[in-house]
Symmetry: C2
Subunit: 338 residues, 2 copies
């Protein structure tokens, strides 16, 4: 037995020995931690006026090149802000390169998009309006022109960005949408558990949490969002394509960095609301959560998780389905053209 | 002077002489009448369970052929349930033949669609799911299969249609969506006025109402919805295309009846929320409400309405913007796949 193996066994015993619920809670607290109230940003302080405008802009189709695309197109709130498609379809039926991640709890992650080619939610909003497969506008100026043509936006932008002489800009659009998205936090029973309410999870869910930690899912899926904090190669023990038959092969973060080490590397997706946002993986190739869990075990952890383990993990994952804030569940009325 | 002309003048004087607000109210009451609470149907009684299911189905994209189309696609609530496009774009970027009318207050009309080729809102919902440019599904069976694949619908359909052994049918989908749409009534200040609150409209709006009646708009735009009760030829005094340059020429209700008399005949659109639902006319060819009013005067009434008259009418029309029910302004969470 090597020293490493010995240490592993020693700490495993220490960490995962079934010494009662208090230990489980202590472990979980050290690995996850409950969600924040909102996901703050020093660069973009959240104000009610920005959030109000951002929510309206989130539904605004009239600033897309074909008049059909708003943020809601790929992030419908009723589907937990993902669209249920393998890959989203934007303006003029253009297919997006990857599956649309939910924007619920997105602002707390290290970056936006699967390959981290958007710095944050503000950057994601900013680039989406001119993204060829999303809103498809040809320039920021063209977007700003469209915004100015909708008379009601003048007052809304002035209130959200007081003191600015010409507040209708894509930069401010991005800040407003970003501020709205920073409120999209969905606490679940798991957060109550992490705060000490042992009864918030039932026995099956606690067993699932234990299996989730023991199996090693937490190597990537840690923190309040259970993921979203690191990049990781998709396919460590076996190739990703062996089980998903994805076509074409996606080079992942390599597309951004051109660094060989980033080939097939993706941002680790979060597990908040995961049961509500199929299909799974960057290419949306897997429909069932059970299949996604088993494949991850095989290719990321080198483990052939048995049926019971998979079921236990899925049971825990379902406890991460959270409450969407009431405010977010109302539809904003969009400003009139004149 | 012919007898007809004499009678017209006589009754005009009687009806429209400026004999005070009470007369205006009396005239308006006889022509319009306030909106009902809901738009009932003997064939499809409204129940809370049907409305709940109908609202969920209204947002359901997963039953369309490309997974992107729900009722909301062409009827987003935030844009007063119209989409702001000349012609709606459905599955796989297919362009619909005509402008999408708002579904607010739609159930109170004689039929659905511009050419009346849908009997009622239930029929419209039923046919939309297999409509080639809308949801694009190939058969009702295919829609029902998709509905059954979404596990959560079982319970929702059973509750909405109690006692039925196999309630997941397109017929029931249509009834549920219809029941939801029958609640989409948007009373405005005009209804308060019609109920006797003289101060509900301001002086400009009352003058506009008078002009609206005197100019003859009410020949077609009568009843609680200010339209939607009759079919009418588009272009009586001059051809429609002279002012709108529409291409190609739409034969209207003739497409349904193959009756020569129905050429260029359309259902009279309603004026409820009209300021919120540009662009105008069956082909969405006109963007400004002022232009639409002036063109209607020219081609339907043979009148060259002056700027003041147009402005007065538009001022009145804006008073028809109503309140969307609170319940309708919340987003339903859609059932999970499993």
């Amino acid at each position: 037995m090597t020293i490493m193996a010995f240490l592993f066994l020693f700490f495993s015993t220490l960490l995962f020995a079934d010494t009662g619920e208090e230990v489980l809670l202590k472990q979980a607290k050290s690995i996850f931690g409950p969600l924040p109230q909102v996901m703050t940003s020093e660069k973009n302080p959240i104000t009610p006026e920005k959030v109000k405008l951002g929510k309206i802009l989130f539904y605004e189709t009239r600033i897309s090149v074909d008049g059909t695309v708003s943020c809601v197109r790929c992030h419908p709130i009723g589907l937990y802000a993902a669209d249920g498609l393998r890959k989203s379809i934007g303006n003029n039926c253009k297919v997006n390169p990857r599956n649309a991640p939910t924007i619920l709890n997105a602002a707390g992650q290290i970056s936006a998009h699967w390959i981290g080619n958007r710095a944050d939610v503000e950057d994601q909003a900013r680039q989406s309006v001119i993204g060829p497969p999303s809103f498809g506008m040809l320039s920021y100026e063209a977007v700003e022109k469209k915004l100015r043509e909708i008379k009601g936006y003048g007052e809304l932008f002035r209130r959200a960005f007081p003191g600015e002489t010409d507040p209708i800009t894509v930069d401010n659009l991005a800040k407003a949408i970003g501020a709205f998205e920073r409120t999209l936090v969905t606490p679940s029973r798991f957060d109550s558990f992490l705060r000490g309410d042992m009864a918030a999870l039932n026995e099956q869910e606690k067993r699932g949490l234990k299996t989730y930690m023991e199996a090693g899912c937490i190597m990537c899926h840690f923190g309040p969002y259970l993921g979203g904090q690191t990049y990781q190669k998709s396919g460590i023990f076996e190739t990703y394509w062996k089980y998903t038959k994805s076509e074409p092969i996606d080079e992942g973060r390599y597309v951004v960095t051109k660094n060989e080490a980033d080939k097939y590397v993706f941002k680790v997706p979060i597990h908040r609301n995961v049961e509500k946002t199929p299909p799974y993986f960057h290419d949306g190739s897997i429909e069932k959560l059970e299949d996604a869990v088993w494949i991850m075990g095989k290719i990321q952890l080198g483990k052939d998780l048995n049926k019971t383990q998979v079921e236990e993990i899925v049971t825990f994952l379902r406890s991460l389905t959270g409450k969407i804030p009431e405010d977010v569940l109302t539809v904003p009325l969009l400003p009139s053209m004149d």
